[in-house]
């Protein structure tokens, strides 16, 4: 397995740390992603959001995670959501863009599916559940709603959009739940890192603990692992 070079998909940071992260990861093959557009609340002026994206891209971010304006979903203003997503897509240039729907804020699964479709139509490469700062983040129900939207969009257009659950996924078992849903609803292709990412931090510690348990039969304490 050594030649497979299993690594994390990307390192995701605020704009201020993009340059530092790019320097630290130089030569590793791990891209830097930037959270953007007034993350996590997304309540800054639209032009400021576009300048933030441009700045992160200029600093070397290969991926941009934008947050949508929840108000557009809650008021049913789909054209406005489409328009802002289109602008974000354009500002990213060649960087890949993930649309964070903040599912915990937009509440209903109907809203989640509509927001998913609108963002995909506007060019999102990935749709992502949450900022990780909401009270409710990635749940299996929300995953099901979003990946069915991805499947519906793929059936209509042939376009492959990726999915990223984020927030509240701190155990290997929780990831397995998500992986099973991906496999069941979208198929094996959507288990690859260009179409499936998990937003997590302390998860790495749990994965290490599970690997250690598999090898030694014992669980180690969390403080023995660097992350988390």
């Amino acid at each position: 397995m050594a030649d497979r070079r299993i690594t994390t998909g990307a390192i995701c940071v605020y704009h201020r740390f993009v340059a530092t992260a790019v320097e630290a990861l130089a030569g590793s093959g791990v891209p830097v992603a930037a959270v953007s557009t007034g993350f996590p609340a997304g309540l800054v002026p639209h032009d400021v959001k576009l300048r933030e994206i441009a700045a992160s891209v200029a600093d070397g971010a290969a991926e941009i995670d934008i947050v949508i304006t929840r108000e557009h979903v809650l008021t049913g203003n789909w054209p406005a959501l489409f328009a802002e997503m289109r602008d974000f897509r354009e500002a990213c240039g060649t960087a890949h863009v993930k649309a964070i729907l903040a599912t915990g804020d937009i509440k209903t699964l109907v809203n989640v599916q509509r927001a998913s479709l609108v963002c995909m139509m506007a060019g999102a490469d990935f749709i992502k559940t949450s900022t990780g700062k909401e009270t409710v983040n990635a749940t299996p129900l929300v995953t099901l709603a979003m990946i069915r939207a991805i499947r519906a969009y793929h059936d209509r257009t042939g376009i492959l959009v990726g999915y990223k659950p984020a927030g509240g996924i701190s155990t290997a078992k929780a990831v397995l739940e998500q992986q099973v849903l991906m496999r069941e609803e979208l198929g094996r292709r959507w288990l690859e890192p260009d179409l499936f990412r998990v937003g997590a931090s302390s998860l790495l510690a749990d994965i290490e603990r599970q690997l250690e348990h598999h090898v030694t039969g014992r669980y180690s304490a969390f403080h023995r692992h660097a992350a988390g």
Binding site: M1, R4, Q179, V180, R183, R188, L191
Partner: protein, 262 residues
């Protein structure tokens, strides 16, 4: 298979809730099941049989013996014969038998849970997380009764042979609820599971025999829609109410408990 090939395929490992073990158990009885009397399975005296079906598919699941009066009599006689020696055992000795039954239930918990789910139709989440663990706890609990009987039930005697009819909604759990207290304190049992859901009782009979329960202490008569009077030698009958009046108990059907039918 290497780690790398698993990584590429990302296929599922065998599921613990796979029904393969339960299906294999059924396949080991291609000619169906008999009554469990005096520690062994035997067909009905008149050879009568009936089919039990799987609610999920409507397909036949197994052939069971259709009990009649002669089968009930044989079971009662076996229970009577075993009752004296069973009651003469010390409380501690019966406690050990009940403890062995509890351990056997735990050891075979998954098989019992899956078989119950297939036979009754309730989801595995219910059988695995509620029915089977509670049944095991009942056997443990009543093992405690037997162990403490000299202190707690010093002035009590066992009733003798007990007839037990159980419903289809909690087939295995009701079996545990009825059987454990009766056996703990020196009674022997003739148990009639609901005709729709007899399989876990028959599996339990297998497990009980393997766990060393003396022959005749537990007897199981299966059957449906055929009057079968529990003959006088039983000292006590116990039946759980079910939504539909049972058709195989003595006497005429009585109205079910609860709101009056219109």
């Amino acid at each position: 298979m290497s780690v790398a090939s698993h990584f590429d395929a990302m296929s599922y490992a065998p599921a613990p809730e796979s029904d393969a073990e339960a299906r294999a158990f059924l396949a080991r009885h291609p000619d169906g099941f008999g009554h469990f009397i005096a520690g062994a399975f035997r067909p009905s005296v008149d050879g009568a049989r009936f089919q039990t079906h799987e609610p999920a598919t409507g397909k036949p699941l197994a052939t069971l013996a259709l009990g009649g009066a002669a089968d009930v009599d044989a079971a009662v006689m076996a229970a009577r014969k075993a009752q004296g020696p069973w009651a003469k055992l010390s409380g501690h000795a019966r406690a050990r038998h009940l403890y062995a039954l509890a351990r056997s239930v735990q050891r075979h918990a998954r098989l019992i849970a899956v078989l119950e789910a297939i036979d009754n139709g309730k989801p595995l989440r219910e059988t695995r997380d509620i029915d089977v663990p509670l049944a095991a706890r009942h056997f443990y609990h009543h093992a405690g009764w037997a162990q403490l009987q000299d202190r707690e039930f010093a002035d009590h005697l066992p009733v003798g042979v007990v007839g037990q009819i159980i419903p289809w909604n909690f087939p295995f759990l009701m079996l545990a609820w009825k059987l454990a207290p009766a056996l703990a304190l020196g009674n022997t049992v003739v148990l009639k599971p609901a005709e729709q859901t007899s399989l876990t009782a028959l599996l339990f009979a297998d497990l009980a025999a393997a766990a060393g329960l003396p022959a005749g202490v537990l007897n199981i008569v299966t059957g449906a829609a055929r009057p079968a009077r529990i003959s006088p030698p039983t000292r006590m009958s116990t039946r759980s109410p079910s939504p539909v009046p049972p058709r195989s108990a003595a006497g005429s059907a009585s109205p079910p408990p609860g709101p009056a039918r219109r």
